[in-house]
């Protein structure tokens, strides 16, 4: 290999962003990615053409017509030309009309979900994504079957978030008080990055998740196993998962920082001062009661705002959460 090749090779491997895609684009992992990339490529080459044209003319004129001894004055030339003006107005109009129409068509295609898509609920909250499957299982990553149209019904619990999967060329703002729907069909098994793209505060840049595209049959196996995590995990592990996915973490910290509700840190087995002057020891029954009937005992200094989880958590799940709380020292 020649030295020139070697240098170029090194340069490209240095410049490549490790996402298995091209220099400009990440890998194409959904059916929608390729048509988008084709529009991108077309605009790219149109841009390169006009950019090179402008810069080449500019450089050529500077070299050829630069002011120098013996050439102090401009040569005579026209001050205007209607024919030229029309040319460089109408040709760009034709090109941009074409780009517009193509871009719109691809956009519409990607916005029309086929019937009988598999539906997953997406909830954005500061600062994570939750994915709820038809069987009620909630996960922190998005798992999807290969080659199946998947429809996401998305909403936010607080401010506006932006749901973005670069490998799918899919992005949509997730707005509180609305349900936003998008769809895709994954075509390449693997793990891909999910980002939040609408700035949402302190943890905005940590609002990452993965979309996992399973091989045929793998998705069903995963969902079955994941839904039965109460059986496969230890109660404390399962409780921690529930703590993160069922909304506890939004108000109750585990590191002692304040929140809407009291922290879980060093809670279990310790006395808890209540509104009205009484004190209670945080044992299993107290925590169970606080989950099912949160207004029964209000911790001193907090508002009675917690909703009941009666009917939303099974007994086994409550037990798991209690086991988890015990481990938060």
């Amino acid at each position: 290999m020649s030295l020139g090749h070697d240098i170029l090779d090194r340069l490209f491997s240095w410049a490549a962003i490790q996402t298995d895609g091209t220099f400009w684009m990440p890998v194409q992992a959904s059916a929608g990615a390729e048509p988008v990339d084709r529009v991108f490529s077309f605009i790219f080459w149109v841009s390169v053409f006009f950019f090179v044209l402008i810069v080449a003319l500019m450089v050529a004129f500077v070299v050829r017509y630069r002011r120098r001894p013996g050439r102090e004055d401009a040569e005579d030339s026209a001050h205007h030309s209607t024919a030229l003006e029309l040319t460089w107005t109408l040709i760009p109009i034709a090109i941009v009309v074409f780009i517009f129409a193509w871009g719109f068509k691809v956009y519409l295609d990607l916005n029309t979900p086929p019937a009988n898509s598999y539906e997953i609920l997406v909830t954005g909250q500061k600062w994570k994504w939750l994915f709820t499957y038809p069987n009620g299982h909630v996960d922190e990553n998005l798992h999807v079957p290969l080659d199946t149209p998947v429809r996401l019904v998305m909403t936010s619990e607080d401010v506006i978030h932006g749901f973005y999967i670069p490998a799918f060329r899919l992005k949509r703002d997730v707005v509180p008080g609305r349900y936003v729907k998008v769809w895709f069909r994954a075509i390449k098994p693997g793990e891909y990055q999910i980002y939040c793209t609408q700035y949402c505060g302190t943890g905005h840049s940590d609002m990452w998740a993965k979309v996992v595209v399973h091989e045929p049959g793998g998705f069903e196996r995963w969902l079955d196993e994941a839904s039965n995590f109460l059986k496969t995990m230890s109660p404390a592990e399962a409780g921690e998962k529930l703590y993160r996915t069922r909304g506890c973490a939004q108000c109750h910290s585990v590191d002692g920082t304040g929140g809407t509700g009291p922290t879980f840190r060093a809670l279990f087995g310790h006395p808890v001062p209540l509104e009205g002057g009484k004190t209670v020891t945080a044992d299993e029954d107290y925590i169970r009661e606080s989950i099912l009937d949160p207004q029964a005992k209000i911790v001193l200094g907090f508002q009675p705002v917690m909703p009941t989880f009666q009917g939303r958590l099974k007994d086994q799940e409550i037990t798991a959460i209690i086991e988890y709380v015990k481990t938060v020292k």
């Binding site: 529009v39 841009s47 402008i54 004129f61 004055d73 780009i99 916005n111 670069p166």
Partner: protein, 577 residues
């Protein structure tokens, strides 16, 4: 109608009354004699001045201070981004405040007032051969509104700096605990500063054009300022109302934008962009006007396609009101709305393209003089070319969905706002500097700085296109390690950029003390500001000049003995009176 010019002082380029002050021998230079800088002494004569030139200079100093502040914020942000994880230098919250302040300071305190209020204020009446703007008191009021707004913004920074992004999106902005109200109220006041300037310019251009200057004999910089002024007057009130509604919601709990109160958060985005999209044309139109002046003067040739350049400014001003929805392609507006906004967005690209082609055609067969301002023109054409063309990716619906809210948008925006507006501002500043202060700066150092800024800028922002198309989201404290090399390159570029600006500042400040006295017309411009002395007298002109073709630059020839241009035919001194 031109207003009568006071009798008495004679200050013309060929008059020995100028040099009679005895300070320096350069023709048309009034340093050491009577000029607007020496006319009235002491702080009070500046603070209460009604002279558009002094107000322009005060604006210039103020906005450049803002630029310095915003630039320091940017360098801090870039320095944090050298590493993908947590940084001992600033926390995530501080980072969020830092990029918000960078944006807010640069947009509201620097770019929007930048060219119109600083350069425009100084140059516009001179180009018209007028003594001042139509409403000098309103002009001063505009400056003090700017100062008030700037002070409020500074106060907000010391009382819990905002962390909302410069766009103040609800419901984040109504729920965060930083001092949003103070900052937003500051921006509200700044809006009035902008409206006052716009109103003043519209009336001045309508009423104070001199004999011989019909609309289509007006310098193109004035067309740019005129288009800008229309947007300032018509769009800024919408921003004002929006910000008041935001304050009402935050302070009084009136439910307008917050869904928890029965409002609609996307409504805020519609209101906000109804102003803020036209506002990017407030930023770019005057810059295009500057380029139109410079490209003709430094090609030593008449501008090509005057009428098309002039009308394209008005076309941009009008269409700019109809494209705000392209900021919301992924925000949840209907497909129909997205389609219409996408189509209109492509239409606004056309007049900009027409301008670029005409500027290139102006250089054809010219005598291209690579003085510092022209280096900025070439830099502008290169960078604005990229900025404009990358807009096509964002105007097309299919590709915008992928690129929206990534670094691609950040890069595109900076190529237009920095590569376009700031570069044109620097070109204009180096062009009019000798007129403003009567001193020439070092052309060599001017060009070195322009080159460093060009290299630094591309290094900083071209890398961001690549990161963005690979999906890196903007406004991120943490990022994936695979982007680190690009971030480091970008940061390196920003340091080069910073060094470039230090050289610009050193060169210009040095010239104030040691620069060669400037002649009346150092570049051979044919617009009227070059027919008075450098710096101009308090009343601008001894006698009202008669306007001719503003691009008849070939009527001026370089005279080595004075280091500047003189009219070609003897006895044809236009302002000799």
């Amino acid at each position: 109608m031109p207003r009568p010019v006071s009798e008495g002082r004679v200050a013309t380029m060929s008059s020995d009354a100028v040099n009679g002050a005895g300070a320096n021998p350069v023709m048309g230079n009034t340093l050491g004699g009577d000029n607007y800088l020496t006319h009235g002494r002491g702080l009070k004569s500046w603070l209460f001045t009604l002279d558009h030139k002094r107000i322009g200079v005060m604006y210039l100093v103020s906005i450049l201070s803002s630029f310095l502040l915003g630039g320091v914020f940017a360098l801090l942000v870039r320095t944090k981004l050298l590493t993908p994880g947590n940084s001992a230098m600033m926390s995530a919250d501080q980072y969020n405040q830092m990029f918000t302040l960078h944006g807010a300071v640069m947009i509201f305190l620097f770019v929007i007032p930048g060219i119109p209020a600083a350069l425009g204020n100084f140059v516009l009446p001179l180009m018209l051969g007028a003594k001042d703007v139509a409403f000098p008191r309103l002009n001063l009021a505009s400056y003090y509104m700017w100062v008030t707004g700037a002070v409020m913004a500074l106060v907000s920074m010391t009382t819990g700096a905002v962390d909302t992004g410069w766009t103040f999106y609800t419901p984040y902005s109504t729920t965060t605990n930083t001092s949003v109200i103070m900052m937003v109220a500051g921006v509200f006041v700044l809006g009035f500063s902008s409206i006052f300037t716009g109103l003043n310019f519209v009336v001045t251009i309508h009423k104070l054009r001199p004999a011989g200057m019909s609309w289509f004999k007006m310098p193109l910089f004035l067309w740019g300022l005129y288009g800008t002024a229309i947007i300032q007057i018509m769009a800024t009130p919408v921003l004002g109302i929006t910000l008041l509604l935001l304050i009402a919601e935050r302070a009084l709990g009136v439910g307008i934008f917050d869904p928890a109160l029965g409002g609609d958060p996307v409504l805020f985005q519609h209101f906000f962009w109804f102003y803020s999209h036209p506002a990017v044309y407030i930023m770019i139109l005057p810059a295009m006007g500057v380029i139109s002046e410079l490209v003709s003067v430094f090609s030593r040739k008449h501008i090509f396609g005057y009428t098309f350049i002039a009308l394209s400014s008005i076309a941009i001003a009008v269409i700019s009101f109809l494209v705000w929805g392209h900021h919301m392609f992924v925000a949840g507006q209907s497909n129909l709305a997205s389609m219409i906004f996408s189509a209109l967005t492509f239409m606004v690209a056309i007049p900009s393209a027409v301008k670029v082609f005409n500027w290139i055609a102006t250089m054809y067969k010219g005598s291209i003089w690579l003085a510092t301002p022209m280096v900025y023109v070439l830099s502008f054409l290169f960078l604005f070319g990229i900025g404009g063309l990358t807009g096509l990716f964002l105007g097309a619906l299919a590709t915008d969905v992928h690129l929206h809210d990534t670094y691609f948008v950040v890069a595109h925006f900076h190529y237009v706002m920095f590569g376009g507006t700031v570069i044109a501002f620097l070109g204009g500043l180096h062009y009019w500097w000798p007129k403003m202060f009567g001193r020439m700066y070092s052309d060599r150092w001017g060009r070195i700085a322009a080159l460093l800024i060009f290299v630094g800028f591309n290094t900083t922002f071209f890398t961001q296109f690549v990161m963005g198309s690979h999906g890196a989201p903007r406004r991120s404290y943490h990022y994936l390690p695979e982007f680190q090399r690009y971030h480091q390159l970008s940061t390196l570029g920003s340091y080069i950029l910073g060094i470039g600006f230090v050289i610009v500042a050193a060169n210009l400040i040095h010239s104030l003390f040691r620069g060669r006295p400037a002649p009346a017309n150092p570049w051979g411009g044919a617009t009227l500001e070059w027919r008075t002395t450098s710096p101009p007298p308090h009343d601008n002109f001894a006698t009202t000049p008669v306007a001719g073709d503003p691009y008849d630059v070939e009527a001026w020839r370089y005279d080595r003995t004075i280091g500047g241009f003189v009219p070609r035919a003897a006895g044809d001194a236009p302002a000799a009176g």
